[in-house]
Symmetry: C2
Subunit: 323 residues, 2 copies
Amino acid sequence: MANKFFDIIQSDLSKLEDALEEAVASPVETITDIGIHLIHAGGKRLRPAMFFLAAHCSKDFKLERAMPLAVALELIHMASLVHDDVLDSAMTRRGEATANAKWGNQLAILAGDYLFAKAFALVAEHGYSDRVQLQLSRLLTDLSAGELIQNKEIYKASCDIDEYYERIAMKTANFLAISCQLGGDVANLSEEEIQALYDYGYSVGMAFQLTDDLLDITGDEDTIGKPAGNDILQGIVTLPTIKALKSSPDKDKLLSIVTDSNMTRDMLHEAVEIVRASDGIEYTQQKVDEFLEQAKTVLPESIPEDIRTAYSMGADFISDRKF
Amino acid sequence: MANKFFDIIQSDLSKLEDALEEAVASPVETITDIGIHLIHAGGKRLRPAMFFLAAHCSKDFKLERAMPLAVALELIHMASLVHDDVLDSAMTRRGEATANAKWGNQLAILAGDYLFAKAFALVAEHGYSDRVQLQLSRLLTDLSAGELIQNKEIYKASCDIDEYYERIAMKTANFLAISCQLGGDVANLSEEEIQALYDYGYSVGMAFQLTDDLLDITGDEDTIGKPAGNDILQGIVTLPTIKALKSSPDKDKLLSIVTDSNMTRDMLHEAVEIVRASDGIEYTQQKVDEFLEQAKTVLPESIPEDIRTAYSMGADFISDRKF
């Protein structure tokens, strides 16, 4: 991701790759193999990036102090994707075979468990504060609870917008918020600054997930690496679809498709077309813009100018993202 | 489990049930439901029991200090069983429906993740030492690595006895060892005493797992709640079978069955009979006795007499167990 947003932290992110490989190295060969596969399958490293930026607010930035937490954040993210792919029976992610496709569900579930545990082990080994441990574990309880709410409601077309926001907050916004907050912790910022960074991460996270949900409808398979409407296929309705289910002239047809766990590709295609033609797209895009505006507004004046600019550009990057 | 072993900690264990229910209470109803189901499905609470006993070595025992760790240990155990049952597609455990049978694999996987995270959250909330956090996270990396080794080798009849011991050490012995060790930590025992309690837990844990593996062959469905030979059916060879694969006159027949992922009930029955008739049973029982003898030997003289007696009875209890 060549973007000026990352200039300040380019070297950290590049060293992160080595640190991740070190973290997954295990006497148990399969663990190392799965770990390396996941690392090489790529990813935006958004959570470590958000974290490193906040950590750089201190002039006294020490990479060796920041790195274990950056690794822990990415390991938790990787582990949750591994379990996600088992849940969805996904065979590819970002064009690469998923862990379950390559090693089977059983080893993928266990590898995910291992990576969660390894994240906590890393943090414990490096003696961070109880608050750091607490935030990291709450992040994971929220993450799994958010996924659980989502999976419980599949093919039910739950259209409560507040519940939708709550679910994406638990799944994504909270994770980015805590990534920023932990960076602020490491940089010894004031409570107010840390809270502001948390709020920034939260808004950016909401925008990020909304964009993800939007791209799932508007993107094409070549760009997003999965067929358009994949969420609908999995029985999950997101904001564009929820809006379409309320306002589209074809809402009855749409409802009958999204609640059908045996939907065919043709039905899926029709559902995607209905959502695309509805005001759900514009409505969601507007919400993305509102969250990003909000994110920029809460950035504290007191943090270094270059970090503030980088965070601001990070928000712009999310609004422009196409994958 | 009415046994004098538990007298000292009977009241702790009874309060543990409430604390567990409190720990799984969540605004997300499904999490609470799954949690309560798992708690009510029972279990020996062996890890909290081992932990509480060690914690009672201090005259200054404070239940409110010990309880969060006891809950964390049992939550990690419960979560690993939930994932185990998904891996094995098990429909019942201890005569009760498994979480995957009742809520499906997806929610069961996520509920397991939630419980792991909740265990770490509990510990972080109560401000234990980094060492406690570290032991708990290492326990979980070992546990998942041990399960992973086991699952990687299914239907391969891996007969290396050292590898078998390593696997059950990671899965079980280490867990009981750390349960004892953490109790010693809470009781502020000396490093030597804590190490001795760790060693006791380790040996007892090895004996416990060996007994489990033995009962899987010698037990009947009414007593152990699953058909005899369930491990073999899952493609897992344990010490009695490993020994039989080396020494039984029918070892070729046995090998052909345990490496067949399509084995029928009749084939399984035949395999179980071959192992039962082999010297694998006596050999394993002898190893159980050796580990239990070892466990009793390492118990430190310096800890209170009643705790030493209780631990010693705990070892006897394992050697006598029939389920």
